[in-house]
Symmetry: C2
Subunit: 277 residues, 2 copies
Amino acid sequence: MADNQEPGQLIIIGGAEEKDGDCKVLREFVRRAGGTKARIIIMTAATELPREVGEDYTKIFERLGTEDVRIIDTVTRDDASSSTYLEAVGKATGIFFTGGDQSRITSIIKDTELDTLIHKRYAEGAVIAGTSAGAAVMPDVMIVEGDSKTNPRAEVVEMGPGMGFLPGIVIDQHFSQRGRLGRLIAALAQQPAVLGFGIDEDTAIVVNQNVIEVVGSGSVTIVDVAEITHSNVDNLLKDEPMAICGAKLHILPDGYRYDLKNRKPILERIIQPLAAA
Amino acid sequence: MADNQEPGQLIIIGGAEEKDGDCKVLREFVRRAGGTKARIIIMTAATELPREVGEDYTKIFERLGTEDVRIIDTVTRDDASSSTYLEAVGKATGIFFTGGDQSRITSIIKDTELDTLIHKRYAEGAVIAGTSAGAAVMPDVMIVEGDSKTNPRAEVVEMGPGMGFLPGIVIDQHFSQRGRLGRLIAALAQQPAVLGFGIDEDTAIVVNQNVIEVVGSGSVTIVDVAEITHSNVDNLLKDEPMAICGAKLHILPDGYRYDLKNRKPILERIIQPLAAA
């Protein structure tokens, strides 16, 4: 719930979340953004089909009972200073980044007034969510693009600046569905973060300060390279295969939690309240 | 090298090994099986195209200088008692299982005279190799079939008895190329072994007693669940997602070695002899 001056939450979705039926992941977003009283902004910067995508999400959020839903379609950086947009975002309790191309989000919004304002709303308690490309932009360093179904090599992934909502980690999406372990590890090896989150489709991590909770039908794969015993990364040319020894691996489904500060799963299962069933 | 009464070696290949050009992985098999003096048997039980597949491998092994290459195409269990076949296998220094369907290998050969004899030749020093389906059959419990690109759930993999050359582990093949982390972990969770080896295409593990060495252009992903801090596997229904906390993950490319007994990578790089370059 926003407007209570507690820090906000992030909902980082691995793409292809269920849009008919129960909509468990999107339901979680709406509930945490304020439920039927939420004021939701749909950010369509990533997609080349902003109208269709925006309207699809609008219908879902309205079906769940939220009356105040607005689409913001920034096409240029100028759009990201539009006073109409800024006014709407200034009141938002939930801001949702759609899928598409993550570079479009950063190139249009990063370091604009809109960017500053979204971060301000987040600090004030708004929920920031993103799916697929909208998930990719959450860290300070993001996967711009890369190859799936490969072993880790430097050349399989291109990194770039992200939106910085969750610094110090790496996010990959469509994780199991596209076979992205190699890509996640290649990304991890190329910047200072030691924690990589591979988020499955129809699955999200809810980040509430240092506690991460998994929601959805798939799993979240966490690779922790903080205490590796060996890596050959410093000596590699671009097309050579990486070696990593002693990484830690956790695979967490719905209801599991993870302590981001101590880098450990929280091993008591959550009992879901009936309302969230 | 066989016929020296030292125990044999296994060469377990993740499929799609290079068959033109340098043939690094197949070259390793031929060299270890006795080089130009090797007596090689190609076992085509797994494939429905035994003639084509057998002839392809014959050409490669002959190109590398081995003159004594024979194809054994067991179609029925009766074939696996053929005295001609048994005589040939009794003298073999290298036995190579082709790809295809791993169930065909076990259903035709397991617990036959041929099976007993191959194990005897292995104990006497022969090199046993297998690619793809031929790799899958190496453990005592094998992946019969399963889904790729999924998170781990019991239903994604079917296990069955393997040929038992390398007990106590799980092998998966085409690992990175088909996105099989979830499948490997689902397999690991369903039998007593704690070590899973995901072998990439054009990549092999050479097993020489307790030392495993990686050869080829891809990587070997090792998942060690011996010291996990949590798993939900005992309470799961078939379609529910598994949780695994605190598994160990190693990704090892060509030249890296692993100590099977102590379950640790051996962290001195091998300097390849010029001949193997």
